[in-house]
Subunit: 416 residues, 2 copies
């Protein structure tokens, strides 16, 4: 039965209060039960997914997209493993921060509380359904999911398994709801559900994110595209530079924390580029450089203005020459997307200036940009990487899915 | 000369980098200079303000509005004093939080940084111009102000004095800019300046805030209306209850943290209401109660459904009877606006349950809701009180005007 958006919102709101007071023991038991049931009901999930795949193939969906859409026993086990890991993590809810006594005797602190109702808009990976639920639920939130129409039957099946598991644990199944109407109108309406939804998190490509930011009246956490730079300073250890650039560019290319553009101090162009090119040639990385770069090494395409602003997500790297750290910082602050930026340097002052002056979610000295990730940062799980400055910036773990409220203990205080 | 919004946005963006690296000494010197100049140029400010007042009177503006609009030597001294106090406060920028070493040797922490460019949309109080600038500037941000058209000449004069003071201190005057075109079209366009403005904070009545939330594509921090409740538990100290209610209702009526609605346990209606009414009669507070309340004391108007949801900002108090704490919590979570809620009780378990289960920015035990305020909480200054859950909730001091970025110290780490 398809529910209207208002019905879905009303149910999610009604789930807020019981979820707010659900203790860790009950939450972890429900997560483990959901993990167990996803594996136990693999056949049902695979059958639903097979229908989505068949429809995708009939519609001429590209193999890469079909692969994203596909569930396998291993991927289902992966979803279950994600929920199991969340059950092992500390409960972020209830912690009280910075409690202090005021001169009038009031004791004031901030208690960590759930956000309430979180909306997630995503594309065709059905595993996001279980992952997003797990994170939102562990942080005490109700989640409303709007997945891609390609994965609808898979998502319906996954959500049903999780809802049944919750009900079996006496937890409100409305902790997870799926919007089954995947029309554009309904999606736009979903973005305007102020009063029902506390925050929307889009997960997907740049087009999806832009549409959500533009149309939403509910607060949005923008997760992001990454036009990530590495700046190789005059004083860099060149072998370290080559190793880090090779890693950041080629270790995995289709991800937001991959390096897309290199900025090189003019004094080390000659020393760096031949060795770097030789290394990147192992993976057939196409280089696009400015004039100085083209003069220094062969087989480099001339970079256009457009290249400096492009997130390739491919075996392509742009290279810009600069005469100073100032110029490097100005270039990076102009073209970056607020994701991850790195400097390779042996110079103390330059390292500190880069850390202080670059405007991005994660700024590195002498390390690969590929580390910007919830697991690598030690959060254990991640709902996405925020490239905005409000609320959460960088990899978002459980804490990013919480709010705080002030709690105040008095003994009759009135305001004079 | 009126600048276009794009020019204003471009100048604010250009100011970000120098403001990001401005140290505390330079910021405080500029704040003190601005304070000094506002007082030194009082005559000019008063003359500009007199023109706004004259226009307001010609247009039949109400006396209350004229009073909000009016500058006096005392109010100018107050603005200067606000800037002077900010100069004495610690700089929030640069602090590094939670720095930890990962197993691979990376040292990862969060550095507090400015948000960037903050937009403030407000109504006719010209003192907001200096206050908002001071807070944004101390936190390292550029501010773009859009004040009410009634106060335009006053705002132009105040902004000019501050810009001159900044320039005299070799600080970019574009740290503060005023949108002089106060048309509705320009205001709406201002709300869509993604890429130029990092956050918008509306300051004013419910209508203004609603319009900003609805039309803005830039992230908004909703500051708020307060339909604040006090729940008098069965076990309350009745004298304390009367004192707190009297304070929260009448100490100042036109403010968002004033008490608008009382929730009373049915078992103490008889004991509480006559004494309470006698006390509130001192200020001629009109009572609107449910049936049980009307039966208990005379001269009570019957409350309608609308009363439960109304922020009166007046000498009016609604009173609802409940049979249990559960019912009280459900009523308050249904009708509150996420601002400030209090319980009066001597019961330990009820106090803890109320603190945990009420969904609001500030939840009190045995104290007046009137304390929800940046000064009272010890923040020293306040840009407003957030009633949303994202980024900042409750009174917003300097920290609410900052973001963080991850800084990572490595020594050649690459991702395996």
């Amino acid at each position: 039965m398809k529910l209207s958006l208002t019905e879905i919102g009303t149910r999610a709101k009604a789930a807020e209060q019981p979820l707010r007071t659900l203790g860790r023991t009950a939450k972890d038991a429900a997560l483990l039960k959901a993990a167990e049931e996803l594996v136990a009901k693999s056949d049902m999930l695979l059958a639903a997914n097979a229908q989505d795949i068949r429809k995708g193939e009939e519609n001429g969906m590209k193999p890469g997209m079909i692969d994203r859409l596909r569930l396998t026993p291993e991927r289902i086990a992966g979803m279950a493993e994600g929920l199991t890991q969340l059950a092992a993590m500390e409960d972020p809810i209830g912690e009280v921060i910075g409690m202090k006594r005021r001169p009038n005797g009031l004791l004031i602190g901030q208690q960590r509380v759930p956000l309430g109702v979180i909306g997630i808009i995503y594309e065709s990976r059905p595993n996001v359904t279980a992952d997003a639920f797990g994170l939102c639920f562990k942080a005490g939130n109700a989640v409303i999911l709007k997945g891609g129409s390609d994965a609808l039957l898979s998502n319906i099946a996954i959500v049903q398994v999780i809802r049944d598991a919750l009900a079996a644990c006496n937890v409100t199944p409305d902790a997870i709801q799926l919007i089954e109407d995947t029309s554009r109108e309904t999606t736009t309406e979903f973005m305007k559900m102020n009063g029902y939804v506390d925050v929307l998190i889009p997960r997907g490509g740049a087009g999806l994110i832009k549409a959500v930011v533009k149309n939403s009246t509910v607060p949005v956490i923008e997760t992001g595209t990454g036009n990530c730079h590495i700046y190789v300073d005059e004083s860099a250890d060149l072998q370290m530079a080559v190793d880090i650039i090779f890693n950041a560019k080629t270790q995995r290319i289709g991800v937001c924390n991959a390096c897309e553009s290199l900025v090189v101090h003019e004094k080390i162009l000659d020393a760096l580029l031949p060795a770097l090119k030789a290394r990147l040639d192992e993976k057939q990385v196409e280089l696009r450089g400015d004039e100085a770069v083209c003069r220094t090494i062969p087989d480099v395409k001339e970079a256009t203005e457009e290249d400096w602003g492009t997130e390739y997500l491919d075996y392509i790297l742009s290279i810009k020459t600069v005469a100073s750290l100032d110029e490097a910082i100005a270039h990076i602050n102009r073209y970056n997307t607020g994701h991850s930026e790195a400097i390779i340097t042996q110079d103390y002052a330059n390292a500190q200036r880069f850390l202080n002056e670059i405007d991005a979610a994660a700024v590195y000295v002498n390390a690969s940009t590929r580390f910007t990730d919830g697991f690598e940062f030690g959060f254990g799980a991640e709902i996405g990487i925020s490239t905005q400055k409000l609320h959460a910036r960088g990899p978002m773990g459980l804490t990013a899915l919480t709010s705080t409220k002030y709690i105040i203990y008095g003994n009759g205080q009135v305001r004079p």
